[in-house]
């Protein structure tokens, strides 16, 4: 237990991703400069704040995805969790519940579905990719069954200040992101729980042998991601005030992409929340810039995909002589 609580491994992991963070900052500044020259509208407060709001859900889900991937897991069902939570929120609103009752319900729904994923991967011993693939089908089924093809629209704006408000000169959405990332950082870097996550990602067998309750840690981590997906659903409803049928369809893949771009190792054991946040910023700035400069948004996917190939290839070449990466 003592060796798992030792903070040193975590410190080493942070430095392992530092060069990626620097590279991402440079990439963001370069891309930002190009778009600023190409479109006079890009570098306006209005546009940047809009981009921030549009990136809210992705940033939050990606924080949880980072923890899950560091742990050596993956969750392709977060889009489904987000959708089901949003429906719970929408239905609760329609039933006339006030915002302070609606919000916990949404968070609870997300946490419950995340716990379900954790349960399937640990207790039923289904590999995470298959487990979350299956639960993604199940969650979409629940969504379709509840709302069919219809939208839930015209929801009240009581939660909107969380997204659209300003606290002094700071947009509320930036504060939400700051709080989520601070919370996730404390969990990952300050609590023994975070060391357990790293330990499981490095070597599950050893983690078990030093006395870490692997199953419980895994279930809690998937539940944490579910909780954040519930929070993202809350912010989605606050932002758009409706629940549509294709909600959350791409968010799992985008969150995985942002996490990997940010330097988290897909094999687990290494990762950084700051990198993930920079990855999210990069993806959203790309998308916003492409739209502003008139390039079809259809190219987004190609760019994200090719970028991932390049980054993964670079990682793999750099880690050629590192036995852990094999």
């Amino acid at each position: 237990m003592t060796s798992a609580a030792d903070p040193r491994p975590a410190l080493r992991m942070v430095s392992a991703t530092a060069s990626r963070e620097v590279a991402l900052v440079i990439a963001i500044l370069t891309v930002g400069a190009v778009f600023a020259i190409a479109s006079p509208y890009f570098l306006t407060t209005n546009n940047l704040v809009q981009t921030l709001r549009a990136g809210l859900e992705l940033a939050i889900v990606a924080a949880g995805m980072t923890l899950v991937i560091i742990m050596g897991g993956i969750d392709v069902s977060v889009g489904g969790i987000l959708a089901v939570s949003a429906i719970v929120i929408g239905k609760a609103y329609q039933a006339g519940l006030p915002a302070y009752a609606v919000a916990p319900l949404g968070l609870l729904a997300g946490t419950a579905l995340g716990t379900f994923n954790g349960f399937v991967t640990t207790k039923l011993k289904v590999p995470p990719i298959i487990a979350t693939l299956g639960s993604m089908y199940v969650f979409s089924a629940i969504m379709f069954l509840v709302i069919g093809g219809a939208w839930i629209s015209g929801l009240p704006s009581t939660l909107s200040p969380m997204v659209n408000g300003w606290i002094g000169f700071v947009p509320a959405s930036a504060l939400v992101i700051a709080v989520v990332y601070l919370g996730a950082w404390i969990v990952l870097s300050k609590l023994p729980f975070g060391n357990h996550i790293y330990a499981i990602g490095c070597n599950e067998q050893s983690a078990r042998l030093v006395g870490i309750n692997v199953d419980r840690t895994k279930i809690l981590t998937y539940a944490f991601l579910g909780f954040l997906a519930g929070l993202a659903a809350l912010l989605y409803v606050a932002r758009l005030r409706n629940v549509e049928i294709n909600i959350g369809t791409t968010i799992a893949l985008e969150a995985i992409a942002a996490t990997i771009l940010g330097g988290t190792n897909i094999r687990g054991g290494v990762g950084s929340l700051l990198g993930t946040l920079l990855g999210v910023v990069f993806i959203r700035i790309m998308q916003n810039g492409l739209v502003l400069t008139g390039v079809s948004s259809l190219w987004e996917t190609v760019i994200i995909g090719s970028l991932l190939v390049v980054v993964l290839t670079a990682d793999s070449l750099r880690n050629r002589n590192n036995p852990r990466a094999q």
């Binding site: 992409a257 079809s296 190939v309």
Partner: protein, 325 residues
Amino acid sequence: MTRKSGFRTYDPLRARLLLLCGLLVVSIVAMSLLSPYFLQASTVPYLLQYVPILGLLGLGQTLVILAGGPGIDLSVGSIMSLVGVAVGALFAAGIDIWTACAIGVAAGAGLGLVNGLLVNVLRIPSLMATLATMFAFGGLALATTMGQPVGGFPPEFAWLGQGHTLGLPNAFLFVLLPVAVVLHVMLTGTTIGRHIIAAGNDDRAAHLSGLNVVRIRIGLYVLSGVLSALGSIIAMSWFLAARPDAGKGMELLAVTIAVLGGTHIFGGTGGIPGTIVAILVVTTLQIGLQLANISAAWQLGLIGLLLIASVSSVAGWRMPKRGKI
């Protein structure tokens, strides 16, 4: 010679096959009770119409997963879409449709080769590598066509996707069936098949006994690309158009079918018959629920539950194996 043929005790694959056949019978009975339209002679060709495309993708997936690594190919749907768009573009440029299809198959092999190299030479985990190429290939198909279908194929091209021989769809009779038989014979009756299973069982042991595991696995990714291209051609011939999103979601169904069919997600155990019966089960459920006018949501949910149940340790026969995916 299968691995356990010497022992007459317990063969996990045979057990899975029996279970799946039982499941097939149960779903046929259930669907006949649900819908009066299901138990008709005309349902069979209707059902088989859906089988070939998914079947080809599922067979490719089976082999990629079987060879271990742990291998998986999430890009099959995107390869399908991209090959379709490419064939459409070649046809629009004045090339004969069947020649264009042949080039499309070669393109599928090339895209599969990209996956194979990323996973086996650069040693990027297959899940990530093929997720990235899924984005890249699928995005390319959409972006180059602006999301619009490419159409105008000649009516005689419909022979493959719409035509029937002896009451069975041509795509089933002349593509899926021969491919499945060839792959089954390859897997169970040839040295290559034994090598594939050996690589999936324990790649270190396979390497030490002189097998080129990397080459075997790259070859199977190429094969998966080729089978996806064939699936794409059948889909084009069926609709007489190439949709840039033709393969959307197919990768997940393909993985589902392979795993449901008894292929172990970490490799080493699995076979063609299981995959084929799994396709029949999934398609029966889909068509039956559709005929009974029950929403598509139930299909999704049922497939998801089947997938989780078939891999969970509750299913009984799975041995613990190392690796993560």
